[in-house]
């Protein structure tokens, strides 16, 4: 019997946010050298498990944070978009390393100049590769964002898909 409905629902939202931020199931989409620093952050010395983010889930259906780690080429980009589309809401994306943030030092025919041209990104972790402490700092920023999205009611990962992504790029199977 809630006396003040908004008080109770906001407490529930805070609790949900707290629970979600400390139980992150990450999808480590590792393609390149940043994977080494991802592994370093995940292993015992820098221990990502103490943030509750220790279990990777290599299925997009079971994951809620997509860690895009390493250079994404234009050949890989449709695959990455498909993985993102297959994840269930709520979902967040971390761009790990400068290759995913802006293309890094690769300004060539093959590299996507920043994955935010094809996916909405929540946290950018720059570095080539970023040290594990920076990774953990980015993860903590993501946790803050997860918690405040639940209290403010804002839908995570707002769809900022540009219009030309709507065209048919995958052949009908």
């Amino acid at each position: 019997m809630p006396e003040n409905p908004s008080f109770l629902t906001s407490r529930i939202n805070e609790a949900l946010g707290w629970a979600r931020k400390y139980s992150i199931f990450q999808y480590p989409f590792v393609t390149a050298c940043c994977g080494m620093e991802y592994m370093a952050a995940a292993c015992s010395h820098y221990d990502i498990d103490r943030f509750g983010a220790g279990f990777p889930r290599f299925s997009p259906r079971q994951a809620d944070v997509l860690f895009v780690v390493g250079t994404i080429s234009h050949k890989m980009a449709p695959v990455l978009r498909k993985i993102y589309d297959q994840m269930a809401e709520p979902k967040w994306v971390i761009a790990f390393g400068v290759c995913t943030c802006t293309g890094g030092f690769y300004n060539n025919y093959a590299t996507v100049m920043g994955i935010d041209t094809i996916l909405p990104v929540d946290v950018y972790i720059p570095g080539c590769p970023p040290r594990p402490e920076i990774v953990l700092d980015g993860l903590m920023k993501l946790q803050d964002r997860i918690a405040e999205q639940h209290t403010s009611g804002e839908r995570p990962a707002p769809e900022t898909r540009p219009d030309d992504l709507e065209k048919e790029w995958m052949p009908a199977l």
Partner: protein
Amino acid sequence: MDAGALIAFVTKRVPEAVASSHAWRGDATLVLRREHLIETARVLRDDAALAMNLLVDLTAVDYSTHGESPVPAFFSSSGVSTRTDSSIPDENPWPGPPLGAHFAVVYHFFSTTLTHRLRLVVPLAAADEEVDTVSAIWPAANWLEREAWDMFGIRFNGHPDPRRILMYEEFEGPPLRKDYPVNARQPLIGPEN
């Protein structure tokens, strides 16, 4: 065999095939004429004194813009001393296109039993970038030649599986040629950035 002996041996075995040769810093390099490639390749693998059973690498070079911008000497900008050992004859380290050709296919061979190495360079003219496949002799050449086809557009006659290996089907143009702009992207999804 050391570099000089290797060059002398091969030149004696297939004299009409070798256009020129040099041994710079202990690396033997032979410039071969295209039509004698298969014959020379069989000699390299089957002759007991050569026994080149490992194709280490097969790649291509596009020489079309060679000499347009000044080529610096080795490490001259890093402050490291570039004086080499005086016992090694120092020919021009960047000899430039062999026979003035547009493309060259470069093969690196190694013998695991006799532990000597050899480099073969086959120069090709601009409109005629075709060479015979050596994948019947060294099976490793199968994928290496597919990469040279995908990246440079060089056709290999008789290749059992002539298709792309690195780039996607929709990509147009061999990207590593000098006339392909290095950052011309052809995105499958997303904006052209």
